[in-house]
């Protein structure tokens, strides 16, 4: 009740403050549903808290539609000051030096208090340049974790797997105990190749996964990744693993208790909580202990906020003030708890813990721990690959051929690397 009153007050104040000619900036975003309403609420709170600036959130469709809208708008000089771009669009944004205003520079130019050390480097690392400067502000980030059906686990008498070897055994036992399939995965490229590589400190691509130069080449067809995909192929054929689609379509296999485990984004927690009619647990993504003793952090997915060029000084001051506001511990903690996305600052994480959120919602801190347990290496910081949307599609296509039994892992990954490299060269040529 109090929250609602506050929002309507905020909205009321926002409307009245605009009369005083506050500097207005547009924030194009891709948040639908409940998160979209939260975005409106965050902007309204910011607008109500001061009189100088007004942020106007504009929903622009899904990630693709939002990014393409912003680019079309930039080409026509109609761009917003702030736009939310998904992580696979990072290289395109970063390469467009004349189009973006790096966040660290914006903060400097506008004299905002801004200390990069306040942020969780495992989250912000994805969006920094090679010198560690933040180019965009992470807004909604998540990382893959393992959801499991506690009831099915109990019935089969198995415990939560830590490693891939254990996961194979557990899944096998589950299937022998009448569960239809052991595990399934969402976002196969992100979880089974990009994160698999990061977790084992293996390069996904050369030149520090593309951070060190546009002349990067894909390297995910090395023996470790091939062996992993080959193992999954065998599991798919035995029914231990069951492929359920490119996006998070596989969730229905988990919700309907067809599969006992689901590898999915940590931000899917609310969805699991709502749809799972059974007790579930959250565990860290498994690793292969023959490849690494202490697993590396996983990498993030989600989106970050980019500032675009071509706006006035006053508008940039508004953007900077808003980004500072977004980084505040209370705002971050609220967003993190509401949406299930990772907090971007240390302070927000601590505040959330203090507020007792993790105790009340067991499993919600698994992702943060998995991200922050170790210092990220150049292979687990993130990926900076041009044309990455299409490369992911190629990976999807090739992996599907593996699951269907049409190709071996080696053949498919070699093909994916070759086709992906062609796109990387194209991107290099277009952006040199």
């Amino acid at each position: 009740m109090g929250k609602f009153a506050l929002v309507s007050l905020a909205v009321g104040l926002a409307t009245s403050s605009s009369v005083m000619a506050a500097t207005q900036i547009e924030w194009w975003h891709a948040m639908g549903g409940a998160n979209g309403e939260k975005v409106d609420e965050i902007a309204a709170t910011f607008n109500a808290a001061q009189d100088d600036y007004e942020v106007k959130p504009v929903f622009k469709g899904n990630y693709t539609e939002t990014m393409t809208s912003a680019i079309a708008a930039f080409r026509a000089k109609q761009q917003p000051a702030l736009v939310q771009v998904f992580e696979v669009g990072t290289a395109s944004m970063m390469a467009a030096e004349g189009a973006i205003y790096p966040v660290y520079q914006l903060m400097q130019d506008t004299d905002q208090a801004f200390d990069q050390d306040d942020y969780l480097s495992a989250v912000t690392g994805y969006y920094t340049d090679n010198n560690g400067n933040m180019l965009s502000l992470p807004f909604n980030s998540s990382t893959p974790v393992l959801y499991y059906n506690k009831e099915q686990f109990e019935q089969a008498g198995v415990s939560v797997p830590r490693t891939w070897q254990e996961l194979g055994d557990v899944a096998q036992t589950l299937v022998e105990n009448g569960v239809e399939c052991g595990f399934t995965t969402a976002w196969q490229s992100w979880i089974q190749l990009e994160n698999f590589s990061a977790r084992h400190d293996l390069p996904f691509a050369s030149k520090a996964n593309g951070f060190a130069g546009l002349d990067t080449e894909l390297q995910f067809n090395s023996p470790a990744q091939v062996a992993h995909i080959e193992q999954m192929r065998a599991w798919q054929q035995d029914g231990v693993f069951s492929y359920g689609g490119r996006r998070s379509d596989s969730a229905s296999k988990f919700y309907s208790q067809e599969c006992a485990m689901h590898m999915e984004s940590s931000a899917g927690y609310a969805g699991v909580k709502r749809n799972a009619d059974f007790d579930f647990g959250v565990a860290q993504l498994p690793y292969n202990d023959e490849l690494i003793d202490t697993p590396q952090n996983t990498i993030i997915g989600g989106a970050s906020l980019w500032v675009l060029q071509g706006k006035s000084e006053a508008e940039y001051e508004a953007v900077a003030a808003f980004l500072s506001f977004l980084s505040q511990a209370d705002v971050q903690a609220d967003w993190h708890q509401f949406s299930g996305y990772l907090p971007i600052t240390e302070a927000a994480y601590e505040l959330t813990a203090e507020q007792g959120f993790y105790e009340a919602n067991p499993g919600t801190d698994v992702a943060v721990k998995q991200m922050t347990a170790v210092t990220p290496t150049e292979h687990s910081k993130g990926l900076r690959l041009g044309n990455f949307v299409q490369i992911r599609d190629i990976i999807n296509e090739e992996l599907e051929a593996v699951w269907a039994g049409d190709k071996t892992a080696q053949v498919a990954l070699d093909a994916a690397v070759e086709r992906g490299n062609a796109l990387l060269r194209k991107f290099e040529k277009a952006n040199d």
Binding site: F74, A96, W403, L423
Partner: protein, 291 residues
């Protein structure tokens, strides 16, 4: 038509509004798309290099592009064929039971009002291998339905979803066409002893040919161009590339992947292909159509 009005300038005036709108909102942007096909450019338009025919060469050297061409043919023929045949069947049946035809028509035509993307979502739900009622029914019957892995099933799914939207439209036109056929003609044939099947193939079908031709063009255009929302909502072109049609590829490479040069080159190829197809349709098929 052999008699015309003699005015010299009036036709230009009549054409002006459409030509203006076409020029400004179609030819101008489409022209830019054609120009784009000869350049390699970053998404933001900050730097562009003239690359001549490179984009086209890359296209014709990629096996994926030819795979998309094949997929498009299978998809379009299936959607147009299935849509026309089913709609004609239903229309002929509705025409037979004339008194109830209105009721049936009312019950059959509303899917046409559903937005393509939503139609895709609804069919995606119905055929989801884990929760979809149709997929579960098929599995009970012993069909191992999993369109996430089986390319043929995925193709079937997009064909069904795309056809579903179009059946009502075809039905409406066919039924109107059937009802416009003079009863006397059919009665005369019946008196001559022609059975329903013979009457259908000898009289009804030829008389329906203008309608059929119109619907054929509309359906092919629909299958070619207006179905990527359906594909995007159901299979996203997968598994593998088994449901990636040419237009879906343009959409994915250009709108999603921001590879403007390649997607522009693909658009140009599409325009040429469809242009040729249209000429063939007009030159050869339309002549055989009875008016």
């Amino acid at each position: 038509m052999s008699v015309y009005f003699p005015q010299k300038w009036l036709p230009y005036g009549l054409l002006l509004p459409q030509l203006l709108v076409t020029a400004v909102f179609f030819l101008w942007p489409a022209g830019q798309a054609v120009e784009q096909a000869f350049y390699q450019e970053d998404a933001f338009g900050l730097s562009r290099d003239f690359v001549g025919l490179d984009n086209f060469i890359a296209l014709f050297q990629s096996a994926e592009y030819f795979a998309a061409l094949g997929t498009t043919l299978v998809f379009s023929v299936s959607v147009a064929g299935l849509g026309l045949v089913l709609a004609l069947l239903l229309a002929v049946m509705a025409d037979r039971v004339l008194r109830a035809a209105m009721v049936y028509q009312t019950l059959l035509i509303w899917p046409y009002a559903v937005a393509p993307a939503l139609a895709g979502v609804l069919w995606w739900v119905l055929f989801d291998p884990s929760i979809g009622p149709l997929a579960l029914a098929l599995q009970t019957l012993g069909v191992d339905w999993n369109h996430y892995l089986n390319g043929d099933q995925a193709m079937l799914l997009v064909v069904i979803a795309a056809t579903w939207k179009q059946i009502s439209y075809n039905f409406l036109f066919f039924l109107a066409g059937l009802q416009a056929i003079p009863r006397s003609l059919i009665e005369a044939a019946a008196i001559d002893g022609a059975g329903p099947a013979k009457r259908f193939f000898d009289i009804v079908l030829p008389l329906l040919s203008p309608t059929t031709f119109f619907l054929l063009v509309v359906n092919v255009v629909y299958a070619f161009f207006d179905t990527f929302a359906v594909i995007d909502a159901t299979t996203q072109g997968g598994p593998g590339q088994s449901t990636t049609t040419m237009v879906y590829k343009v959409y994915k490479d250009g709108f999603v992947g921001l590879d403007l040069g390649s997607s522009a080159a693909q658009s140009v190829v599409l325009m040429v292909v469809v242009g040729l197809m249209t000429i063939i349709q007009f030159r050869y098929i339309e002549r055989k159509v009875q008016y």
